[in-house]
Amino acid sequence: MKRDNRNEGNFSSSGSCSSSGKAKMWPCEAEDAGVDELFAVLGYNVKSSDMVEVAQKIEQLEEVMGNVQQDGLSQLASETVHYNPSDLFSWLDSMITGLNPMPEFDSSSDPFLESSTITSIDNSSSVNSHAQMAVDLDFGSDLIAIPGKAVYPRTQTSPQPPAPPPEQHQPQAKKPKTSPCLGNSAGGLHSEPGFARPVESARPVVLVDSQENGIRLVHTLMACAEAVQQENFKLAEVLVKNIGFLAVSQAGAMRKVATYFAEALARRIYRLYPANPQDSAFSDMLQMHFYETCPYLKFAHFTANQAILEAFAGKSRVHVIDFSMKQGMQWPALLQALALRPGGPPSFRLTGIGPPSHDDTDHLQEVGWKLAQLAETINVEFEYRGFVANSLADLDASMFDIREGETVAINSIFELHQLIARPGAIEKVLRVVRELKPEILTVVEQEANHNGNVFLDRFTEALHYYSTLFDSLESCGSGAAAAAAAANSGDAVVSDQDKVMSEIYLGRQICNVVACEGLDRVERHETLAQWRTRFGSAEFEPVHLGSNAYKQASMLLALFAGGDGYRVEENNGCLMLGWHTRPLIATSAWKLS
């Protein structure tokens, strides 16, 4: 291993944002090249010159120990032979190789992981794939262009793209960048808990390089997608396996995103296409969890409601047609706002459209019944009708029984993009909408282009989009720390279950975008600009969402944990909600021109 850049034997390590969170600090070392004194006191012979490697090894060991699931650690206690513990270096080495957390590793991972921290890979696996790997995967040249919007969640704290130069070098041990070490030698090296946290070093030291693995992960994902595009399925297969264990080396959002994308790619490669979800009750439940954990759906509902409220100003009989009925979560707020409007509430009629349910319950009717109860509680005259339809394109204007003097509003949240798969469907639906003569049509859609013709482009777009989305989910603060804090103040907690369900909800979309084709690929998201063109050519005119909607949306977002990260933007009368700089969903309103 190379050892340049070592600064007079002084060094410190800081595992920046490693999953274990802890970083170690080494005592200042004297100029002598002999045995380290502090270690010697504890009975270990460690040459000062070896300190770097020892540091690395300890980081690796911790990483590996952190990744071990069940009782891989018991080996350490009982069976592992510790060769000469006084020789710290080789002892750590033996422990690391003894603790093999991922037995299904391919040695084919070796070329990239050689210089990473996970060196505990068994070198016993097949030679074939290894050879193939060595031949086919020259990542060096391909890896230059990391897509500008970095994908992994830690970029806020990580150094700016370290990717291009290091990748070009032959894989070697990372040179530890040194920084003035902290003279707190009292910290000593007793045992793990004894390590004190170092002050932020000026230049991040890449000893725990989960970041480098993160970069590799992204590149492997892209390379795999490219292989799939070129129909080089053998290569893709190998790459997909690598993604699997590269993903495990990450933590948090990146890991989850990578896992979902890897699964989707695997499905595409092995042609195990996911069946389109038949169980609408389950999908609804997933969406409910998504509704509860993060603000996207709430934003959608509140902004759409505001537009509808304004369109209904002064009208005494109103009829809302909801293409995305689900659990009807949007309507209590609108009913409440209508009840309190000056002049009193109008008489309110709701028509809900939903997919057929596969058990015996009439789900749509149940939702309608509950909304009716709510309306009665707040004294709003309410009427409800539910329509079951496999696709919105099956509907006809005559079904809706629009009455004289009724003001109609049509609402669609994340539904229209599903029509794009069938040719002619969206045009038909927009024609039906025109026939209904609505006062306003509110549309909320994902702000992304996941409908490109080229698979690789779709894949890249989706990777960015869902990474950002998962990132924002991470900030929703569930988990042990938040639970403890909340328990102290006696409040409820967004459970991990909610988060997991939201992730599954998103994971299904990922699977659909990546693995499916043709009519099955329903998640055909398009950008606001594309929708504008569509609506324009269907003779609709945009309605500007006013400042009330903007204010309400901003307030709503401020209420959420992680509210700092969410941004509301106004875009030519439409409102977009995004995470930091990336818009994720867009609300727009339309009327007949």
């Binding site: 439940m285 409910m288 509704y291 509860e292 954990t293 603000p295 709430k298 509140f302 659990q327 009807g328 979560m329 209590p332 707020a333 009913l335 409440q336 706002a337 009840a339 309190l340 000056p342 009193g344 509950k370 909304l371 109860q373 709510l374 509680t377 707040i378 004294n379 929703c476 603060g477 720390a481 938040a482 804090a485 909340a486 103040s489 409040d491 409820a492 907690v493 967004v494 459970s495 279950q497 909610d498 009330n548 204010k551 309400q552 307030m555 709503l556 401020a558 209420l559 959420f560 944990a561 992680g562 509210g563 700092d564």
Partner: protein
């Protein structure tokens, strides 16, 4: 002699004082309670049953929610009552909204913060909407929907967690 007189006077004064019991002067008590903040009301509720009943009176909490605002449009009271009352509105929506949006915190002299609630129409509307959603979720949708969860699911749970934890 003068000494005895003084003692008598003092005894009379003490007796007079003892005759004044706050519980006999309910309107006075209510006036005082009206000026308390939510935490103090909670503490007051623990004093005795009378106080407990008084602090649960919804008009106290209505006052707490909206005392710095111009009179509400008609119908708010009936609606809030139907959806669970002002006390619930305060606990579930108003307080978290105010805390999160850090409405009008003012620092006084010694550094202790006095919260001056500066509500506008928008915060009120938002709180009421969220309250309605909460009612729909917990009363109508809750119970068995998510199969065996201990606490009823609520989209307002996000309001309960501290920001920037």
């Amino acid at each position: 002699m003068a000494h005895e007189l003084q003692q008598n006077e003092r005894r009379e004064e003490i007796e007079k004082r003892a005759k004044f019991c706050i519980n006999d002067n309910m309107d006075l008590l209510i006036e005082i309670l009206k000026r308390l903040d939510d935490r103090s009301l909670g503490v007051a509720a623990c004093v005795c049953r009378l106080w407990c009943a008084l602090t649960r009176n919804d008009s106290l909490w209505e006052h707490l929610c909206f005392r710095h605002l111009s009179p509400q449009p008609g119908g708010v009271r009936t609606m809030v009552a139907a959806l669970g009352g002002y006390r619930r509105l305060y606990m579930v929506c108003v307080k978290p909204v105010m805390t999160r949006l850090r409405l009008g915190k003012v620092r006084w002299g010694s550094g202790s913060e006095v919260e001056r609630r500066v509500w506008s129409r928008h915060e009120v509307e938002l709180s009421l909407s969220l309250f309605c959603v909460d009612y729909y979720e917990s009363v109508l949708l809750g119970g068995g929907r998510l199969g065996g969860e201990t606490s009823p699911p609520s989209s307002l749970m996000i309001l309960c967690k501290a920001v920037n934890v």
